[in-house]
């Protein structure tokens, strides 16, 4: 199937792909900075900080992984036949 070939092509060109994705991320942040603020709906400080959700996502995602895996290893994870 052609579709599989496209994916293989992308996987072969990981370096270029990474550059494109980084450029995309920068564009996302720029978009948030330049977009016209919707004053009617911007009631709270959350709505007024530029790129607020960028920072929120980076920190939030990092914490979710670290805390999730941390607690799992601390005491949540047991062997698969734990209950017999």
């Amino acid at each position: 199937m052609d579709f599989v070939k496209y994916i293989d092509l992308l996987r072969k060109n990981m370096k270029t792909l990474k550059k494109v994705l980084i450029a995309y991320l920068v564009a996302v942040v720029i978009f948030d900075v330049v977009l016209p603020r919707d004053e009617a709906h911007a009631h709270y400080w959350i709505d007024k900080v530029f790129a607020f959700w960028t920072v929120f996502s980076v920190v939030g995602c990092f914490l979710l992984i670290k805390i999730g895996k941390g607690i799992a290893h601390l005491f949540l994870s047991k062997d698969e036949d734990y209950y017999g």
């Binding site: 199937m1 579709f3 599989v4 994916i7 995309y24 991320l25 996302v28 942040v29 978009f31 948030d32 977009l35 016209p36 603020r37 919707d38 709906h41 911007a42 009631h43 709270y44 959350i46 709505d47 790129a51 959700w53 960028t54 929120f56 996502s57 980076v58 939030g60 995602c61 990092f62 979710l64 992984i65 670290k66 805390i67 999730g68 895996k69 799992a72 005491f75 949540l76 994870s77 047991k78 062997d79 698969e80 734990y82 209950y83």
Partner: protein, 586 residues
Amino acid sequence: MDRWVHPAIFFFIGSLLLPFVKGKAKKFLILLIPVLSIIDVAVMQAGIYGSYQFLNINIVFGRVDKLSLVFAWVFVIMAFLGALYALHVKEDGHHVAGSFYIGSSLGAIFAGDYLTLFIFWEVMAFSSVFLVWYRKERRSIEAGFRYLLVHVFGGLLFFTGMMLYYYKTGNFVFDKIFPDNAGIAEYFILAGFSLNAAVLPLHAWLPDAYPEATVEGAVFMCAFTTKTAVYVLARGFPGFEILAILGTAMTVYGVFYAVIENDMRRVLAYHIISQVGYMVAGVGIGTELALNGACAHAFAHILYKALLFMGAGAVLFMAGTAKMSQLGGLYKYMPLTMIFYVVGAISISGFPLFSGFVSKSMIVASAHEKGRLMLMSWMNLAGIGTFLSVGLKVTYFTFFGKEAEIKPKEPPKNMLWAMGLTSTLCFIIGVYPKVLYDLLPFPVEYHPYTLPHLSEMLQILSFTGLVFFLLVKKLQPEAKLNLDMDWFYRKGARVFMKLDERVISVVDSVWGELYRIVGLNLLFKNARISYGFDRKIIDGVVDGSATTVRGAGSIVRKLQTGRIQAYIGLSLFLFFLILWFVLRGM
């Protein structure tokens, strides 16, 4: 239209006809049942139907309004998609259980009083458990029993509340309850409803049972039980602050486990808790926008979660396992399944142009509108976890990542068609949300495609992706079991069994021994005397009657086939026969 036909009828009667047809006719019937119910819902007009007096109690089978209709719509659509996905299943009992499950869910959402609701509520639990048991593995059978016991407990909470409510008000009318008027009766009912919605801490049955269900059964289960519960919460308990808080807690709790779980279907099951959390929170916030959001999200969620379960089920069906620690690189072997799974994953994550974007955001926006910034932030954190777990982790470790030894093929055509159709619906709702918004209980003034919302979602999704790829090694799935609240009853039951073994059974056997020595000897002697009397004298008098009874007994024995599906079929038949007599007499 004056006459109203309850859509559950098609499922109840239709499925009982299934054992009598074969081959293509059977497949046709399996698909015809949901098609008829879709037509039925399409022509339905708002109103009160099927209202009867029963022992001076008013029971209502058909309360049709916008709130019940939006759920009915998605239930019958899902019934069709699920039936298509399960078309290859050979066991009639599986189809019958699925149909009774769907039929009783429809019964529950149209019920206008607690009594009717309760009956359908219980039929739901007792029919859906067969979708777990039909997997026919030891783990499934055990999980099924736990599922049943927990739901019986939930049913008892509901029943207690219902009886207290009757004691207080003198009726069973199921309508909106105001938080200020709620007493112990209402809170019992709320607890019973919450258990089915998997509200913390009554949620552990869900990730325990759903991953052990059959491939096809799980697709049904993920749609109906929790969403029926969302419906009754939206009907009865809007504006209860406790729901706003617990719902938001659920959103984060679910993704937390979804991030660390290994089995694809267990990730998805935990994620249901998260998604239902949004709906419960929406009900708790209680504004028109929030309730619209809860309904819209239930609608969209049923479709994309079923799609995800179909994808994961297809992997399990073809590869023999859904554990990500044993999977990888499947995009080469199951490309279509992968595309459909990814459509489900980006819909649930709220990508623009897909259904999650237009439904989840209504609830988040309602929290924003009410100034509940904490709730809003936690929900958005759960949004990050959604994309991280269901979107990235499962997709990456199943379809990409390190190639595993398992090289499965694409699943049967009916499964692919079901996935394709569901994907299309997710996309249609995403680009043309009006079709969904028009069904909602309140007029919709909300517009999802605004620049700030677009920017917010793009930032959340893109940067979650970035962190995922930076930390991907940390997320490697592990073949482990993670403890949850079910620990209390699974280990607790063991403590009880030990107590039983060591104390109760010792007392019992001492007592038994005593009885054997003293009581039984006397009894035997007594029996021997009366046996002789009976055989020689009584049977001699009414000669032959004992022989006749013995003959009749052997006929009854033939009816008792020992097959559980036959018993259930028979008892349901009797149930409806009795119901018919009762209704006819009124």
